[in-house]
Each structure stands twice: as C-alpha cells, then as structure tokens.
Amino acid sequence: MSRRFLRRLCLRTLLVWALVCLAMLALQRPLMASLLPYVDVIVRLLQSDFVASLRVVEVQGQCLIQLTPLLMRAVPLTNELALKPFVELEPFFVSVNHALVPLVLLIAAVGSWPVASYGEALVRMLLSVAALPLVLALTTPVLLVGRMQMAVVELALEHGATFHEPALVGLLIFMESGGRWLLPLALAVACVVASNRLCIGPKALPKIIRQPSPFSSVNKSRFRASRL
C-alpha cells in the first residue's frame, strides 16, 4: 500500500463517514420503523418470557425505540416471588441513533475501500446487504432483551435473590463494550475480501503482475529483429 493510496483512503473514509452518517440520520425514523418487524422476530427468538410491542417514538426531538413487554408466563424472582403473567411492564427505550451505529459502520467501512470495477462494487454491495440483517440481529434485539433481563435481575436482587447473570446480559455487555463495532468491521473486511476474490480471483493478480510488458527488453529485441 503506497502513501498516496493511504492518503486517498483517509480522505475517502472521511467523506463516506460524513455522507452515510448524514443520510442515515435524515432517514432514521422511517428506516428504523421499517426494521422493527425484523427486530420483533429476533426478540421472540431470543426469549419466550414476553412479547414485545415495539414502536419508534420522539421524545424531546430525539427518536427512540420503545419496547413495552407483555409477560406471557410467570417470571420467577425468588423461590417465593414471581412476576405474574399477562402483565404489561414499564417500557424500555433505546436511542435510534445508537441502534443505527453498527449498520452505519458496516456501510461506511465497505464504502471506504476502493473498488476495481463496477462488477466488484455490485458484488460488494450485495454482500453487505446480506450482512446487514446479521449485524442488526446481534445488536438491537440483544440490547432490548438484555435490558429487560437486567431489570428482572435488579428486581430479584431487591427482593433478596442471589445474583446470577443471564447469558444474554453477558452478550449485551460484550456487544455494548466493543462487539457492536467489531462485528460490522469484521463483516466489512469479509465483504471486501470476498468481492475482491470473486471479481478478480486470488490467482489472477500474480499473473497480471508477472505478465511481461510488450516493451520489456526481451520484446524490444524481438521487435527489432523482426524489423531487420
């Protein structure tokens, strides 16, 4: 990688970051509203204690995802106490901006790396579109369900239960402390490498490099010989 390439990459990254962030910010509300049915499916797959009523609300100019859990079965807090089924709990809120970060990061990271051809750009775009649901599934629903489970654990602790961390809370902490950045970046690298290999091929590159130039010394002498 030359210095010129790295300088261009820095500028390109800055430009893509600004453009993608602004575009997604402008579209945050309709975009997140359209993604909520998918988030709901993942929330149902992650747990069976509650069903979630999800919607995007605006509070003091800030777009938030509101999750209102309706308990579907009794959730034990201690040996004696349990949350009753079919009761609606207090809603949880997650900022839409916060939820969009991994998606924006994937798009920005994929868009920052230069492409060799339109074909590669198309393949890369298709691969990143395929990666987006995975990123979304492992971030926002985990955060929502994890927060619900944390609230239950806190309630149980208030009633004298011993602390035990649900597995999903562990995943939530991991994702929120860096995993939600690592996942889109790793997938972006995978998309770039895969599109590069699919369109150029791993063995095509050395052949192109090793192919002798038509004006190499050997060819020049042959050219002179043929003219003589």
Binding site: M1, W17, S95, A109, S177, R197, L205
Partner: protein, 185 residues
Amino acid sequence: MGPTGPARAFEEAGSRGRKFRPALFLLVFAAVYTLLHFAYFALPDRLLRDQVHYYGIVLPAAEIVNLVAPREAVYAAHGALKSSNASLRIVRGCDGAGVAFLLVAAVSASAARLKYKLLGILGAALLTYALNELRVVGLYFVVAYRDGWFSPLHNYFVPIFIILAGSVFFLCWSAWAREAEARST
C-alpha cells in the same frame, strides 16, 4: 492499477516476509480482546472512577477546557466534568477502552515483529487517548451550549468516526510495519 482490497495487501505481506495466517490472527485477536475485556470489567467501579478516570481523563480535560476557555471555570469532580454551565458525567465506557482494546488486539495479532507491535500498541493507545480526550472536551462544550446536539454526537457521529479513524490507523500501521520489515531484511 492500485491496491484493490485487503486480499492484495495480505498477498503483498506474504510475499515480503511473514505470511499472514487468518486463523492465527483470529485466534490471537480473540484471546487478547477477551483478556482485555475481562480485565477491564474486573476493575472495581470506585477505582475506575476515582483513580483511572479522574487522573487520566477528567483532570486533563478540565485543564484543556480552562486553557481554551478560561471563563468556563471547569473543575474536575470524581466521575464528572463540572462548571456553572454544564455537568458531563464520565462513566465506564467513556474512556475509549473499547476502541483501544480492539486496536491493541488487532496489532497484537498481526504478523509483525515484536518491536513494531509494541510501537503499534503505543500508537493505538496514544491515538485513542487523544481522540477520546478531544471527544470529552468537545462534548462538554456541546452540553454547555448546544444540548440538543449531544445525543446524535455522543451516540452516533463521534463513535463511528473514532472507530473508522482506528481502522485507518491499523491499516497505516500495518503498511508501515511491512515496509520497515522489508527494508530491514
């Protein structure tokens, strides 16, 4: 045509010396990241707030704000940057540790000599510290004068920028380390 992807960068790296092994990279990366993650969460809240954050982040940030805008009269409290205009809380995760851990793990897992890795880790730590300090100072002014901008900047623009800056740093460092190794052999 210039480089078109990490695939080519990896091939170049392989042809110049140490070969890039994706499985080894992933293994070392995951091990180092997990180790740092658990070590960070093993730190008690009080130690983090009263020692690490206070002396490492809040106190220098207060000095910078007072240097730039003496009228703010900001003071460093335990876990917050305070003035008559604003109060900015600094909690676990506001220290840029997540980005620093990712970068340190990526540099540690790379196929480079120990000397270059240590320089890379030092560079990663300095970059994340500087960007985070800039973020804290910037967010203080946002809270003080443009409160409505706080959420989009804090939750959205700034983290994405810092992560992308860290990624570009990693690419620059790996290109530099590769060149330096090729020159020395």
